[in-house]
Symmetry: C2
Subunit: 415 residues, 2 copies
């Protein structure tokens, strides 16, 4: 089927679902999906093995094969996450800010689905179920396009998702998949702005940049996470040490891990040596400025490219700064507007950092690793946005909705 035809059919299913998609129906479908995934483990694993086999023959890395694999633990996670979604408050239909205007009519904003959402992603087949169920719970239709390496896994998962819709008398086109392996299909998808309302790309920076460049449809994304920890001269030394270690080491391969440490010159001599030593004991490679190099051992010189880099690994850039304004300037220049933290006991400096750091999440005396939909209490997370429009930072079900203005009059006219 052509991409345009798929977009048209998905749009039709969205409009049908506007009419019938009550919270009760959505939750019934989520339960059906959970049951069917649970009952289809052998089928899913055998389809996934076809993808794994091809990827191995193609010489994929072990990290890639890990992301591609549908093992027991991941299937358990999928089965459970559908049930967890049932329990989350449905944002659709909520009426916000309703007021009576002086003329006597009422006006308010009703939460509604965005519409048709295109999700473009890479190897991980669990994104298929995660994205489709979050879109379903928020009343949206979804068009999925996963990486061609996960073709068999995704086809099997989408089949289950669509069967669950069908069994509940809902048009299965509410969850669609672009099954063409042709890369042109993605470009075709990105110009269907009369049928599709939002694109969410999930994957490496290259994929995302290419989507932004070609899309006529609004895109929500983050390119990368270059997160900073800034130790102000009035920081608690133990807190500074613990937060820096947690931000860098607790899970280095994720976007909210710290990539650069900034330390005030006034406290560098006392604060930095124990932190550098503790990081190195945990296997972290330090790339430091000249001053940093003098305060530790085996420290590589840092380059300007390192300040822009998302290492996603046990590597940390370290820079000594003259004061908070230099730290803020560095973060706004080299950072990715994802998550940045200050460690300080001084409330004025905390406020200055909060007001001037132009990032999706700004933290005081907390680890950048806390920047997460679950930790913030959103219940579920479709992704993280470093854009400034619509949803910013961790994006949950609410980020998958918009509002429409509702006016209730009694024959009111414009005078």
């Amino acid at each position: 089927m052509s991409v345009r035809k798929t977009a048209e059919n998905t749009n039709r299913a969205y409009h049908e679902f506007l009419n019938i998609g009550t919270p009760k129906i959505k939750n019934r479908i989520l339960k059906t999906i959970s049951q069917k995934l649970d009952a289809s483990r052998d089928y899913l694993i055998s389809e996934n093995e076809k993808d794994i086999k091809s990827a191995k023959e193609g010489g994929s890395t072990s990290a890639f094969l890990d992301r591609l694999a549908l093992n027991k633990k991941r299937l358990d996670g999928m089965v459970q996450s559908c049930l967890d979604l049932v329990m989350i408050q449905d944002p659709v239909g909520r009426m916000d800010n309703m007021v009576m205007r002086p003329e006597g009519f009422k006006v308010g904003q009703m939460r509604v689905p965005i519409g048709v959402i295109g999700i473009i992603y890479e190897a991980r087949p669990n994104v298929t179920v995660e994205a489709a169920t979050l879109c379903l719970k928020s009343g949206n239709a979804v068009i999925l396009r996963g990486g061609s390496n996960a073709y068999h896994s995704n086809m099997a998962l989408v089949r289950i998702l669509r069967e669950a819709l069908d069994e509940n008398h809902v048009n299965p086109d509410l969850i669609s998949y672009i099954d063409s392996k042709d890369r042109e299909a993605v470009n075709e998808l990105l110009i269907q702005d009369d049928y599709i309302h939002l694109i969410i790309p999930r994957g490496g920076e290259g994929l995302i940049r290419s989507v932004v460049e070609k899309s006529r449809i609004p895109v929500l994304k983050h390119y990368k996470g270059v997160c900073h920890v800034y130790i102000h001269e009035q920081a608690d030394i133990d807190m500074a040490l613990n937060i820096t270690l947690n931000a860098k080491i607790q899970r280095p391969a994720v976007c909210n891990a710290a990539e650069t440490l900034l330390v005030d010159l006034a406290c560098a001599d006392t604060v930095l040596p124990p932190i550098l030593q503790a990081l190195q004991e945990k296997g972290v490679e330090i790339r430091g400025c000249e001053k940093t190099q003098k305060l530790g051992k085996n420290i590589k010189p840092v380059s300007e490219d390192d300040y822009y880099a998302e290492f996603l690994d046990l590597i940390l850039a370290v820079k000594v700064v003259g004061n908070i304004d230099e730290a803020i300037g560095h973060i706004n220049r080299y950072g990715s507007a994802h998550t940045d933290a200050i460690i300080t006991e001084n409330i004025h400096m905390a406020n200055r950092f909060i007001n001037n750091v132009d990032s999706a999440s700004v933290m005081v005396n907390a680890s950048t690793r806390l920047s997460d939909g679950g930790v913030y209490g959103l219940g579920a997370e479709i992704g993280i946005s470093t854009d400034k429009l619509h949803a910013r930072g961790p994006m949950g079900l609410e980020g998958l909705t918009t509002y429409k203005w509702i006016v209730i009059g009694e024959g009111h006219l414009r005078e």
Copy 2:
């Protein structure tokens, strides 16, 4: 100066203003602008006369010359609107939804400016002041690009705006203008996504489509307003008549005027003849479906193109529909997702219309002409969006802000 350099300078001014742009400073600048505009009337009118002269020589229409003119009434409006903005609540800095998480840290969303906003518009020089002051009040920097026909008027206005910033010790680059008459300059502006965060085009559909196609920066816009009034079979006849007349006639050249009337077959014989007659008495040309043609005199046959059309004139398309579902289907297919109204006494039908019409404003028993930032109580309006992301419908100061997540910990780590 190159467009890129202008974007860079404006971005720097935005970051500086984050630090110093308190409500007090913003309001002081707005007052200075108001005073300076008031004191510069002769200068502004003489600069505007240069543009008017060129436009006349170029054979512009009288409607175009009217939009271009800076007369006493428009200058009064500008002077007053700056003072009105002083009185509006400043959204920046407001902390929303702050909660204490189970782990003991606080998380909330702080309202902040979006950043650097590009405004691309056509002949009307009053947009220059309106857009610049709304961006200023919401803490944003702005890059303006008006139509080349208004060159002298815009240069004079921008000079006053920048002088007002300078006199208040604020970097004048907070309000920038692309003064190149080269059309390439706009294309250059639309790819500065590292410096500019939002584009708002204001003008005809052609301008807006061209901006959307070329922009790598998110765009907020509405292409056109094809608004509907739908008379349900259980409508109050007088209310149906009054709302239809108000929606079509009160100001036909604006985007929230009605362009198509839909009437249930069950009530068409009684409702439609008096409405058609009343409209025609007010000079409205009716283009009707076959059934409509039988119910009135001098009714032209309607074409499918008419259903898509924004007439912006005393012309109305009229269609008799079988039931509410046909009406909703028509609106979602041919409409522009701007504003649509149902007239009914039946609460179930009102709810069905509200849930299924996929437009920025959905009205029950009220005129589409009420769809307006001022009428909704927003205080000011930068434009209307028919997009689904970020701001939808009338967009005021709040629509010119975003949020950042603020986390206040006491040394909190990710476990």
